[in-house]
């Protein structure tokens, strides 16, 4: 059996007296898309923040590639191959697509004693990333002028720069038009093609059931379901989220 790329063992997270996450176990396998669902306050964001290194668990262990890990902070987690695509995408509208992809990691070249931005190298690399994602985003266009799907492509292209092994996507389809949802779901499948593990946090049942391989449902800080998409149904998932179905 393959080693999970990331594993939670008996992980709990408390804020004072509040148990946000209680004895949680799960494993993420390389190259799979996992839909993480749950109502508001079910523990989704806590789980995500633990994976992304924003928080440390109160109890239990997180294993990365089979080894017990403790992320110092989110930059540490990023260095170890975990990238987050935020719901608002964290883009600078006033900059170009290529500028955004390379924000904070700009490519420079030496001119005498100076280091200047290598716009050509960044545009070429960004174009290659967009091509890999089969997106028509153009590197030198301003993000302000872009559609929701193209903006998503910019944010996802960022995660490909570092060859991230795990990409956490927070409600990627929440703020875009229905027409562009398919485009974004395609982008997620392209990531999977590259061998990336994607955790898709979503409220939208059709999205999860279109692209995910597996479904994890949280309710009141506990994992109430962890099964293959093929063995579940939107009706069951809804029941699990609301509590109409206790466990599955």
């Amino acid at each position: 059996m393959t080693t999970p790329i990331l594993e939670f063992r008996n992980v709990s997270k408390q804020y004072g007296a509040i148990h946000a996450l209680d004895n949680m176990d799960f494993a993420l396998m390389p190259g799979e898309i996992v839909g993480l669902m749950g109502d508001n306050g079910a523990g989704k964001s806590t789980a995500v923040k633990l994976i992304a290194g924003n928080f440390q668990p109160s109890a239990g262990e997180i294993l990365l590639g089979g080894k017990i890990t403790r992320f110092a902070d989110s930059l540490d987690a990023r260095d170890q191959g975990i990238e987050v695509v935020y719901q608002d995408l964290a883009l600078c509208d006033n900059l170009t697509a290529a500028d955004n992809v390379f924000l904070g990691r700009e490519i420079t070249r030496r001119v005498g004693p100076l280091r200047i931005l290598d716009y050509r190298a960044m545009a070429d690399r960004a174009a290659a990333l967009f091509a890999e994602l089969k997106s028509e985003t153009r590197p030198r266009d301003l993000v302000r002028m872009m559609s929701g799907g193209q903006r998503q492509a910019v944010a996802i292209a960022r995660t490909r720069l570092t060859n991230a092994r795990i990409v956490l996507m927070d409600e990627p389809t929440a703020a875009i038009s229905v027409r562009q949802v398919a485009e974004v779901l395609d982008l997620i499948l392209r990531l999977k093609d590259q061998g990336v593990t994607v955790v898709l946090i979503s409220h939208r049942m059709p999205d999860v059931f279109t692209v995910a391989d597996r479904l994890i449902v949280l309710r009141r800080g506990q994992k109430v379901a962890d099964k293959r998409i093929a063995d579940s149904s939107p009706e069951e998932a809804t029941g699990l989220i609301t509590g109409a179905i206790e466990r599955a």
């Binding site: 509208d93 006033n94 500028d99 266009d141």
Partner: protein
């Protein structure tokens, strides 16, 4: 994929129509029109001596406007520049004179002071230190830039009055005054420094990581931080840069006037901010160029100079500059509205 080579880092977007081109270059076009109108109405305007004099006047506020552009690009503001100009100028004069005791010593060459480079370094040092202090308060104490630099406007002016005792410090060595009054191949020294500074500032903003981070912070500071941009360090730096240009301008102004005084640069912050904004830089940050700022500074300089030559009252000059300022921003907003809806 069609890849059109572009000189600048920011793409110019797709599908610019004629109207948008006119809006984009509204300030330079208006500047040319003004120059033509004044040239027709008043022959003295185009005299080389007048033009060089005009440029020399512009270069002081222009240098400060270059620094201000960095600050406004991060969505900040520096209201303290006029007061800082006065304070830096006084410190510069005191260092040049070797103290405050013989501040009225007018006989040239009689001062037992310090060499000019120490005086210039003192002016620039004071400016940068003041900028650093303000930048720290903005980033570490999370006080809005408007408030911090409004405090600076008051405090630096007070400090200037305090150290000078209210009076001017006048009479410098010729190698000091050369920096304000001298010429290289007929071009005044401050004008040369202004254009050199503008070119360097342009290169820094467009071709360095630091410059890209300045734009990114103005566009979306939270996104910049999430992507590993050292937001606090860059933010402090832009106030240090603004202070640097205040110090340099203070040195050049003292040299030009052969005098420094605590009331120098009163209200200058408004002229400088007007130049930056007329040049197309957004007060919300993230959008703007040094080319625009230079254009804005020249526009205000040409307008003032031309109206003076035409004997138009300075009261009316102020009204005209106010109207142009608002019109420039209104035009930008109108263009932005059209972009959104098209």
């Amino acid at each position: 994929m069609g890849r059109t080579p572009r000189l600048s880092g920011l793409a110019h977007g797709a599908g610019l129509d004629t109207f948008q081109l006119i809006v984009r270059y509204a300030a330079p076009i208006f500047l040319l029109v003004l120059v033509l109108v004044f040239a027709l109405l008043e022959p003295r305007f185009m005299h080389p001596l007048n033009l060089l004099n005009l440029l020399r006047q512009v270069s002081i506020s222009g240098l400060i406007a270059v620094g201000m552009t960095f600050v406004i690009l991060t969505a900040g503001i520096d209201l303290s520049v006029g007061s800082l100009l006065a304070l830096s100028g006084l410190v510069c004069a005191m260092v040049s004179k070797g103290g405050i005791a013989d501040r009225f010593a007018l006989e040239i060459g009689a001062s037992a002071g310090n060499p000019v480079y120490l005086a210039a370094a003192a002016a620039i040092g004071v400016g940068m230190a003041a900028g650093f202090l303000q930048g720290l308060v903005v980033t570490k104490l999370r006080v809005p830039p408007f408030v911090v630099t409004l405090g600076g406007l008051s405090a630096f002016r007070g400090t200037a009055l305090l150290v000078s005792g209210g009076g001017p410090i006048s009479g410098f060595d010729p190698d000091f005054t050369w920096w304000g009054q001298g010429r290289i191949l007929t071009v005044p020294v401050p004008v040369i420094l202004f254009f050199v500074a503008a070119v360097i500032a342009h290169l820094v903003l467009r071709h360095t990581r630091f410059g890209k981070h300045v734009y990114a912070i103005g566009g979306n500071a939270r996104a910049a931080a999430l992507n590993g941009v050292p937001v606090d360090r860059v933010t402090v730096s832009v106030y240090v840069i603004s202070g640097f240009f205040c110090g340099l301008a203070a040195f050049l102004l003292s040299a030009r006037l052969n005098s420094a005084e605590a009331v120098a640069g009163s209200g200058l912050e408004l002229t400088v901010i007007a130049a930056v904004v007329i040049g197309g830089t957004s007060l919300f940050g993230g959008i703007g160029t040094i080319f625009g700022t230079v254009t804005g500074a020249l526009l205000i300089g040409v307008l003032t100079n031309g109206l003076v030559l035409l004997n138009v009252s300075s009261f009316i000059q102020q009204i005209v500059i106010g109207v142009i300022l608002v019109a420039a921003v209104a035009l930008d907003q109108f263009a932005a509205g059209r972009r959104q809806s098209s």
